[in-house]
Every structure is written in structure tokens, then in C-alpha cells.
């Protein structure tokens, strides 16, 4: 194991008492509990983490949190649990952690893909667009190469064994970020009695307070650590607060609906992970008020060679030093355009590192910092820039040149030797969530960054997120925001009392001067000044995009892929806008920003899916008879949300053979279908009859109690949308049935008309689909079975006529029996209260056994009804079919208006050459046409193409007629009965067939 030679001491965040061992690229290292992979690797002197996306250049650690663009690793090698693109700067180490570099082969040090770097000038901005749009074949040629060379981590290949959950939560004040502003905001809001959620992205409360020299400040006379401890204890004592650590607010949606993702187990050693806890939890929070205390993100500087491992953000260097006790290098150079970054040099100096120089692009840095540098003996170059860096896998030296008054290079280079370059181009308020909430931004010249200007939702920004950087002002800003939020949510707050914070004269000083694109000593062709370290976008790429006409930031972003990586441009976007502004000769405010979209940072798919996987993905409805079907080995199909038995294959029997057997039984003996899934609506009221007369195409005013009628429903456009049989129980009471899949839609549609068009009608509707279990018994012998079952109904077809219903009993259980048929065969539909469904089914099987009863599934039902030419709405119709198209003129009344009636006489719906519903019989009775096949009029290929005259909607092999049958929609099909058509085949000759009318029972002379 290598020694942690860069570890200095063990401050608050890192527990030196708990050593941890982990592996990176197969090698074992030591760290401490509280370390991130980045801090532990830096402690061991490891800077190079990965290779970049496009050029495979060495990539190190730039930042110290979710902002880091390129220190991405693959966690674990387990095919089910491996995590790609994990940020080393966020990944907490634990015993047994195994991480690997990404995007390199065969190893991080020797990577074949890095030849891309040498050929970089052949991979310019818009490379993908240009190969797509270029000569045909270019993309085909490059695709395989690009797919192998470009890319990030590898996704898991086995099913995810972990579980995830979503929870809903309401609160009064949601505080996002637990830095100085967020903590004070949460504390005052919680004290008011408001329900507060405090969400902190990292494992510790404190934010920027953890990144400053622990003894440099006192708050209310306490040290930072004591103050944080007290504040946390204070917060946890409040009864109405939920403090969530490792929880990132990733999406800000309408009306203060904010999505948080909490990581519960990823930081725990694998053997200690708890099965009762989810791996991640998504909190879906609806809150009255939001306080955005999301801090700020530091920007790097854009200069030639700025991407080498060992070049880090100045603020991150301080975080590693103070929070993790890690020196990021032995000898450092600080390169900046603002005063704040100078503190990095001072802190490194105090920690015992050598500071080779401070390089500042400004003429006159602030007097406080220059005086302090002088007193510490640190050399400072002003009006200067770094023009080149050296070092193969880690920075070793760099050259500095002076800038003239026009910010152009002047004089000769001077070489500085250092293994750490801390850069800062200033801090940008983290406005991602603010912008997602649709607030308006403003470019602030004193920050050289965008800051919130006007809110849209009930939200306020505080602290660095609002551009407030001085610690005392941060506390005040948080207190004010927290108090205002609680008050706006209806709670009275104490007088805000900011902690008395000791002052450092450098606090809050910036004096920043813009330095978006620094001059290079190299010719443009050889300059590599990176803006986006993950996607390898250089300032040259952005300038090229402008020259090629991409003047909008949104277009230039997509053309160059600026900020389109997993980091979403946290460190790169503003620098990119600065470069674009320079190329366009416009101020940044006029160039604008690209749209901030959720998620703020990558959210694992498992967390997005939550508990909605497997059996919980979609609700499945089953009938009361379901277990019986399962026991019989039925195959099931999904209809609507229902699982329906499709057929009951016996041992050794194929599905097709089972369907044939079931249909033969239905035609020759008796067979039973579980029809419980039919939509059932109970309709009552004085005007129920009038209502039915308006929603159905046929007449309902004279249907007598005890009778049933089949009905069609149309939309106002005249197209068929549902059908079913409705029974008249009494003059003000009807039992309406719908298709299995259409039940909810039909009820909602009828409620719409009832509530909004005809509120004067006295009608009440109730869905009773699940109150009744239904068994349909069909076949020439079915009446015998029904007779054996029923105590008090004579099933004789003469006594119990077709399209009527009776109320009776089976062993004392009340039932409704309907004499209706979807198969063309003698049929009885028995309805019982659902809890008797399974019992009824068993009774039917017992009493039916002497009569050869056979259970049949939905496939048999489809086949049987096709033999009689009955439609299935949604299979034979598709929302473009009128009752006339179906040849069902008999069902359209002329006596009164109904929904969709007027549309039936529109010029288009009354055309004579519309597509008609017809039967299709192949010349070869053995050929079963594929459903969906296209019907053509001639077998010969026509120029420019053979016109399609229709399509096949249903097709089966009929056991009754011992040949194939099909139904379809064909142009003016009824006029073609007897004519020859062809069924087009993708491979092979068209199949010859003839058009018939759709009722095959009639066609073959079997009509009853």
C-alpha cells in the first residue's frame, strides 16, 4: 500500500481514526472515512484519473464536488452493480471500494485512443454534423471508429438487484444547500414552526465553511467546528425539520414542485449495505417556499495547455487542504484574475507548501492581497498570463509571459517549476435551479457572472447563489431569506440575529477583471485552450462555430457539444459564453445563456424508476377466476390493464391446436369463457333511457325491461369508438357493457356529456366492472349446463329468448343471466357478485362436465366471432371507420339525434368509395394471411408503386370451415364482393384471394 504522503492533518470532515483501504486501477491505497476518492488519491499523490472523451488526453481532478467535469471513474466490476461516470470528487471511499479509470485501453498510462489527440485537427467543431451531412458513406465509415473511440463509462449489463423508492412530501420551506446561508435560513425557518426540509448535496453540513482555514474565523465566539456542531444539534432538535444529507435537488418544476435524490447506501461498504433501505430515494417535494442556497461554482481560466493533471481550481485546492487535510502539490503556482484566489497561495504557504508564484492577469490586484504576498515573500506576476504547460501525466513546469495594455503578449517567457497550478477565473453563482424555476438572470459586472434578478416562483436565493460572498453578509442573507420564506408561508419569526462573525480583510474582495480567452504564444493551429474539459471543446472550436454561422449560444453549444457532458457545463458554460461573446464582438449579457434543464446532475436510472419496476411497473387486474386459469396452465394476454386467459393448452398441445380444440367444442358441444373483464356501467335515473338514446346510434326508447340490445357509440366525428350490449333492468335502470379496454374512457366520455352538455338529465352512472364476475357459456349444449346450474330459470331457448335477461339463483346465490352471443352460437352470460366468481366457475365446470364443457380463451373468442363477422372495436376499427363503413346501416336510427350523427352525412363520410368492412378468402385454404397485410388489386408491380386498396384486420384458421378466413377494410369493398384481390407479401408473390361479405356463417350456409 502506498503512503498518504500528502496528508497533512485530520480536520472536521475526515476522521483520521478510521482508516479505509480501497483500490484504484487494481492498486491498493489508504485513506480515511470522510474522504472522497479524489481527496484520497490526492493524499497518495495520484492526480491522473481518466482520459478525455474525444482526444483521450490525460485528465486530473479540477474541482472538489459535483462541478468536476472529467475526473470520472467506473465503480466496481460487478455486471449488475457497476456505476459508470461516477465523479471521483463526490464518490465517498469505503473499505473494499474498487474504482477504475474510464475511456482508456489498454491502461490509463498507455492509451491507444490518444492518437486522436495527434490527429485533433481532423476532429474539429461540428465533426459529427459534418460527417453526417458530408458525402454519403462518410458516417458509415466513421461510425464504428467513433463509437469505439469516443465515450465514457460502461453501463451495467445485468439486472439491477437493488431497490429504489419515490416518496412524496409537502413542506412550508425547502432550503437547498447547507452552507453558511442555507444553515441560517433553515434554522430561523424551523424555529418559526414551519415544516422545513434542508437538502445538502454532500455528506456534511457547512458548505464553504469547511473549505476555509478552521482557525481563521470565529462565529459567536465559537470555532467553525463548534458552531457547525451546535447549529446541527439545534436543527435536529426542531420537531418540524427534515435534514437530508447526500441529497441533491436536481429538478425545479412548476409551482414549487422540487425533486430531490438522496443516496442512502453508496458510501457504505458492500457487506454492510442494508436490504431494508433503498439504494437511492427520490423525494418529490411540493413546498410553499424555497430558499436557494446553492452556493457558487468556480471557473477555470482558458489558456493553452490548461487541461493537464495537476491544474486545479483554486477553491478546490483550499477544500482539499482544509476539509480533507490534503496538500494537492509540493510546489504551487496560483493563476487568476481576482483577489480571492490569492488566499489559496497564502493557505498553501501556511500549510508548508512552496508557492513558486502568483500569476495575475490584472495590472493592479487589490492592495490587501499584494501586501500580504509581499510580507510572505511570494513572487507575484501582474499583467501576466501562462502560455504553456509541460509534464506528461502530471504538471511539471509552465511558462509565463507579460501582457501589454491591449492584453496581448509581450516580452519573453519565464519558466516556473511546480507540480500544482491553482487557477481561478472567478466564481459564478450556482443559478441552475433558479433558472429552471424560470427566474430571470442578470449579468453582474462586479462578479463577471450571471446572478438572479427576478423570481418567477415562490423562491428566493441567498448567499453565494445570490452573488453574496463575504461570510458575514452570507449569514445575513440566509437569515433574511429564511425569515421571509417562513413569513410568506404564514409563520411568525424571531428577529433575525446573524452570528457575530470575525472578519478577514480579504473577505468578499474580488476586484475581478474579465479574462475569457487568454492569448497564446503558439500559432492558432497548435493552440489547445480547453473550455470544456469533459467534451474536449476548445476556444478555437467555439470561434470556428461563430465563423461557420452559429451565432446563437444554443446553436453553438450543440454544434461544439459545449457543456453537453455529464457535468452539464458547470465549470465551462460561462467561459464558453465569454469566448463566444469575444468572437461575436458583443457583451456577454447580449449573448445570453443556454437553457438550464433538469437534472442538475446525473440521476441514476434506478432512482428515476423508483419502485415502479417489475410487478409494480404497471397495475395488472385479474378476474376472480384467475387462479383457476393459472392452475390450468392457461396462456395469458394483456387487455387494457387486465390479464385474460388466451387459451388453455393441454400437456403436449400447441397454442394453435388448443385454440382449434376450444372452438370446436364451442360449436359442437359447450364451452365457457371468463368474460369478467367486460366494462360494466350501472345507469339509473328518470332520464336514463333518453341518455342512452343520445349516446348510442340506435333506438332505446322502446327497449322493454328484461330485454337487451347491442349498441354502437360514435365520437362526434362519426367514427365508431366503442360497442357493447346494454340490458334494461327497469325503466330507470340499465346495465351497460363496454369493451374490456374501453371501460374507463366510455364512462369518462359519458360523464362529460352528462355534466357539460345535458346537465338537465336525471342520470347517475357507476362503474360496476369489478362488482360482477361473468362467465359466458356457449355451444349447442350450453342450455343443458345452464339448466343444471340454475335453481329457478328455464334455459330452454324458446322460453328464454335471445337478447333477453333473467334474474335467478344458483344454489341460492343471486345471478343475472343474459341470453346474448358474441360467437353466433347459443350463449348465456351469467353474472354473479364478484366474490362468487371462482365458485361459479367451478360450478360450471362441475355441472358442465357431462356435457363436455371446455374452457376457452380470448383467442378462441376472437376466432368464433370472426366466423360470424362480428367486429372487435380497436382491431377491425381504428378511429376512421363509420357504422356505414362496417355495413351496419341497420344500427343507425333516423328518428333522433345522437352523438356523431351529423358527421355521417359530411361529404367525406358519405363517399361511396370509402373503405368497407368485408371478408377475404384466400384461394389456397391453407394460407392464413398475416394480420395487418396490405390488400392490392393486381398481382403485377405498378409504376411508380402499386396502390394499396385496403388491409387485413383479423385473420384465423377456422376449424368450423376447415380453411383460413380473414376480415379487412377494403376501398368500396362491398362493391367488390366476389372479386379477386391480392395480399401483398414482403418476400414472395402476392397471395390471390376473393372478397366476400364478412359473415362467414352465412357465406358458407351455416347461419342459424
Amino acid at each position: 500500500m502506498s503512503m498518504q504522503t500528502f496528508r497533512r492533518k485530520y480536520p472536521t470532515g475526515v476522521n483520521g481514526a478510521s482508516p479505509v483501504t480501497f483500490r484504484f486501477n487494481g492498486r491498493q491505497y489508504g485513506g480515511f472515512a470522510g474522504d472522497t476518492l479524489a481527496s484520497a488519491l490526492l493524499a497518495n499523490g495520484v492526480h491522473m484519473i481518466a482520459r478525455s472523451f474525444k482526444y483521450h488526453r490525460p485528465r486530473g481532478i479540477l474541482g472538489s464536488g459535483s462541478d468536476d467535469p472529467a475526473a470520472l471513474v467506473q465503480v466496481g466490476a460487478d455486471p449488475a452493480r457497476t456505476v459508470p461516470n461516477a465523479r471521483a470528487t463526490e464518490l465517498e471511499i469505503y473499505d473494499g471500494l474498487e474504482a477504475f479509470s474510464q475511456n482508456c485501453w489498454p491502461s490509463l498510462a498507455i492509451d491507444v485512443g490518444s492518437v486522436n489527440d495527434a490527429f485533433g485537427r481532423f476532429l474539429p467543431a461540428g465533426f459529427y454534423y459534418k460527417t453526417f451531412m458530408g458525402p454519403p458513406g462518410n458516417w458509415m465509415m466513421f461510425e464504428g471508429l467513433i463509437r469505439r473511440a469516443a465515450g465514457l463509462g460502461k453501463s451495467p449489463t445485468a439486472p439491477d438487484p437493488d431497490h429504489y423508492e419515490h416518496v412524496n412530501r409537502h413542506c412550508d420551506v425547502l432550503v437547498i444547500g447547507a452552507g453558511p446561508a442555507g444553515l441560517t435560513a433553515a434554522r430561523i425557518a424551523a424555529a418559526s414552526g414551519a415544516r422545513v426540509i434542508l437538502a445538502e448535496e454532500t455528506p456534511e453540513l457547512g458548505g464553504r465553511l469547511l473549505s476555509i482555514e478552521p482557525s481563521s474565523r470565529t462565529m459567536d465566539g465559537q470555532s467553525i467546528a463548534e458552531w457547525l456542531q451546535d447549529t446541527e444539534a439545534d436543527l435536529t432538535r426542531s420537531p418540524e425539520i427534515t435534514v437530508l444529507k447526500r441529497t441533491c435537488a436536481f429538478g425545479y418544476y412548476g409551482e414549487n414542485w422540487v425533486a430531490l435524490v438522496e443516496s442512502l447506501q453508496d458510501h457504505v461498504p458492500e457487506h454492510a449495505r442494508r436490504a431494508d433501505l433503498p439504494r437511492h430515494r427520490v423525494w418529490r417535494v411540493r413546498t410553499a417556499q424555497v430558499v436557494l442556497a446553492t452556493g457558487a461554482i468556480e471557473r477555470p481560466l482558458v489558456f493553452h495547455g490548461n487541461d493537464r493533471p495537476g491544474i486545479m481550481l483554486a477553491g478546490a485546492v483550499r477544500t482539499y487542504l482544509h476539509r480533507y487535510g490534503v496538500l494537492a502539490g509540493r510546489t504551487a503556482v496560483v493563476f487568476t484574475n481576482n483577489d480571492e484566489a490569492w488566499t489559496t497561495a497564502f493557505d498553501l504557504h501556511a500549510a508548508g507548501a512552496e508557492v513558486a508564484a502568483i500569476v495575475d492577469t490584472r495590472d493592479e490586484p487589490g492592495p490587501n492581497v499584494t501586501a500580504k504576498a509581499k510580507s510572505l515573500g511570494i513572487e507575484a506576476f501582474t499583467s501576466a498570463t501562462i502560455v504553456e504547460t509541460k509534464g506528461r501525466r502530471r504538471l511539471s513546469h509552465m511558462s509565463v509571459m507579460s501582457l501589454d495594455e491591449n492584453k496581448q503578449l509581450t516580452g519573453g517567457p519565464r519558466w516556473l517549476y511546480a507540480d500544482l497550478l491553482a487557477v481561478s477565473g472567478g466564481w459564478s453563482p450556482n443559478v441552475a435551479l433558479f433558472s429552471q424555476s424560470r427566474g430571470r438572470l442578470q449579468f453582474d459586472d462586479t462578479l463577471q457572472a450571471f446572478r438572479p434578478e427576478r423570481s418567477w416562483q415562490a423562491e428566493r436565493s441567498a448567499g453565494a447563489a445570490d452573488g453574496v460572498f463575504d461570510f458575514a453578509a452570507c449569514f445575513a442573507s440566509g437569515l433574511q431569506a429564511g425569515a421571509e420564506a417562513a413569513q410568506a408561508a404564514g409563520f411568525a419569526t424571531d428577529t433575525p440575529q446573524a452570528p457575530a462573525c470575525s472578519v478577514d480583510p480579504i473577505d468578499g474582495e474580488s476586484g475581478i477583471e474579465p479574462a475569457w480567452d487568454l492569448p497564446s504564444a503558439k500559432p492558432p493551429a497548435r493552440t489547445r485552450a480547453f473550455v470544456d474539459l469533459q467534451n474536449d471543446v476548445t476556444s478555437k472550436d467555439l470561434q470556428l462555430a461563430v465563423r461557420e454561422g452559429y451565432v446563437s449560444v444554443e446553436h453553438a453549444k450543440r454544434y461544439t457539444t459545449l457543456g453537453m457532458g455529464t457535468d452539464q457545463g458547470k465549470t465551462s458554460s460561462l467561459n464558453g459564453f465569454g469566448v463566444l461573446a469575444g468572437a461575436l464582438g458583443k457583451p456577454i449579457a447580449d449573448v445570453g445563456v443556454t437553457t438550464f434543464r433538469p437534472p442538475f446532475k446525473p440521476v441514476p436510472f434506478g432512482a428515476v424508476a423508483g419502485q415502479h419496476v417489475g410487478d409494480h411497473f404497471h397495475p395488472r387486474r385479474t378476474t376472480p377466476m384467475h387462479t383457476w386459469h393459472e392452475d390450468q396452465g392457461a396462456t395469458f394476454e394483456v387487455v387494457g390493464d387486465w390479464l385474460r386467459a388466451r387459451a388453455y393448452p393441454r400437456a403436449g398441445e400447441s397454442f394453435e391446436d388448443a385454440v382449434q380444440r376450444e372452438c370446436i367444442a364451442a360449436r359442437t358441444q359447450t364451452a365457457a369463457l371468463d368474460a369478467s373483464t367486460l366494462g360494466k356501467i350501472d345507469i339509473r335515473g328518470r332520464d336514463a333511457r333518453t341518455f342512452l338514446n343520445r349516446v348510442y346510434t340506435n333506438a332505446w326508447m322502446k327497449l322493454a325491461p328484461g330485454r337487451c340490445r347491442y349498441g354502437l357509440m360514435l365520437n362526434e366525428d362519426g367514427m365508431v369508438f366503442d360497442d357493447g350490449v346494454t340490458a334494461c333492468i327497469s325503466d330507470d335502470h340499465f346495465h351497460l357493457t363496454t369493451t374490456t379496454g374501453g371501460a374507463a374512457g366510455v364512462l369518462s366520455w359519458m360523464e362529460d356529456y352528462l355534466q357539460t352538455e345535458w346537465p338537465d338529465l336525471d342520470v347517475f352512472m357507476t362503474s360496476v366492472t369489478e362488482q360482477w364476475a361473468v362467465a359466458s357459456i356457449c355451444g349447442p349444449e350450453s342450455w343443458r349446463v345452464v339448466g343444471a346450474l340454475l335453481d329457478d330459470i328455464d334455459p330452454n331457448p324458446d322460453a328464454f329468448p335471445f337478447m333477453s335477461h333473467r334474474t335467478g339463483h344458483i344454489a341460492g346465490v343471486p345471478v343475472r343471466v343474459f341470453r346474448i352471443s358474441f360467437t353466433g352460437e347459443l350463449s348465456y352470460e351469467i353474472n354473479v357478485p364478484a366474490r362468487y366468481g371462482l365458485w361459479l366457475w367451478q360450478q360450471i365446470m362441475d355441472k358442465g362436465e357431462p356435457h363436455g364443457i371446455t374452457p376457452y380463451g380470448t383467442e378462441g373468442m376472437h376466432l368464433l366471432r370472426a366466423e360470424t363477422g362480428f367486429i372487435i372495436v380497436g382491431q377491425d376499427t381504428d378511429g376512421t371507420v363509420t357504422p356505414y363503413d362496417l355495413g351496419m346501416d341497420w344500427i343507425v336510427k333516423s328518428s333522433a339525434d345522437f352523438i356523431g350523427r351529423r358527421s355521417l352525412t359530411r361529404s367525406d363520410t358519405s363517399r361511396a368509395d370509402r373503405r368497407h368492412f368485408v371478408g377475404v378468402l384466400t384461394d389456397d385454404p391453407a394460407i392464413v394471411i398475416a394480420e395487418g397485410s396490405q390488400v392490392i388489386a393486381t398481382a403485377e408491380e405498378q409504376d411508380p408503386r402499386t396502390p394499396m386498396i385496403g388491409h387485413i384486420t383479423s385473420s384465423y384458421f377456422s376449424p368450423t370451415f376447415e380453411r383460413s378466413i380473414a376480415l379487412g377494410l377494403i376501398d368500396a369493398g362491398r362493391n367488390r364482393v366476389g372479386e379477386r384481390v391480392y395480399i401483398a407479401q414482403r418476400d414472395g408473390e402476392p397471395i390471390p384471394a376473393r372478397v366476400t361479405q364478412p359473415n362467414f356463417m352465412q357465406h358458407f350456409g351455416r347461419a342459424t
Binding site: W456, A589, S748
Partner: protein
Amino acid sequence: MFLIPCPFCGPRDQSEFSYGGEAHIARPTEPEALSDEDWANFVFMRSNPKGVFAERWHHTAGCGKWFNVLRNTATDEVLASYKTGEPPPAVAGFQLATPSGEPPIGSGNDGTKVVP
């Protein structure tokens, strides 16, 4: 995901409702008296304004009632809700665009999200 104030149940999450298109389009009482064009206008034609829009919502996973909402389609702000059959209430004090400032037509994706 906005909140919809159901006139019968109070504010509820949008996921409880289903959408019903433009409100105040009465079904003609004598459809047979209409020309093809007038009937087609009723069946097919709807307005799609950027700004205040009266629309129908159905509290599908709630009380089951249909009602009307005035929504600012530019900002998704629900300005008022009222029962079927009632006239739309007067609304005021809203903006026709979000602070991020879309142009009068179009998505505003390329517009200013920033104060000029």
C-alpha cells in the same frame, strides 16, 4: 406539474386530472340544420392562444367532476377555476410571459433569459 384548484375538492396535483380541451364550445342543439363547414368547425376547430385560455379539466382520480380553468398558456399559471355552466371570471394581475421573457410567438428558446 402544476396544481389545479378543483372547484369541488380544492387544490390538487395535476396528475389527478385529465385534460378536456377548449371550454365554452357548446354542442349545437340542431346539428342537422348546420352546413358541413359549420359542423366541422364545431367538431374539429379549436383555438390555441398564447395567453389566457379557458379549458376543461376532469378530476378523473378525484371527484369525477368536469370543470373549467383559466390558464395562461405562456406561463402555465392557473388563474382561476369555475364550475361548468358558469361564465369565466375576470382575471387580472398576471403577465403574458414569464420573467425569462419569451417573444410573443414561438418557444422563446432563443430569446433572452437574461436582462438585456
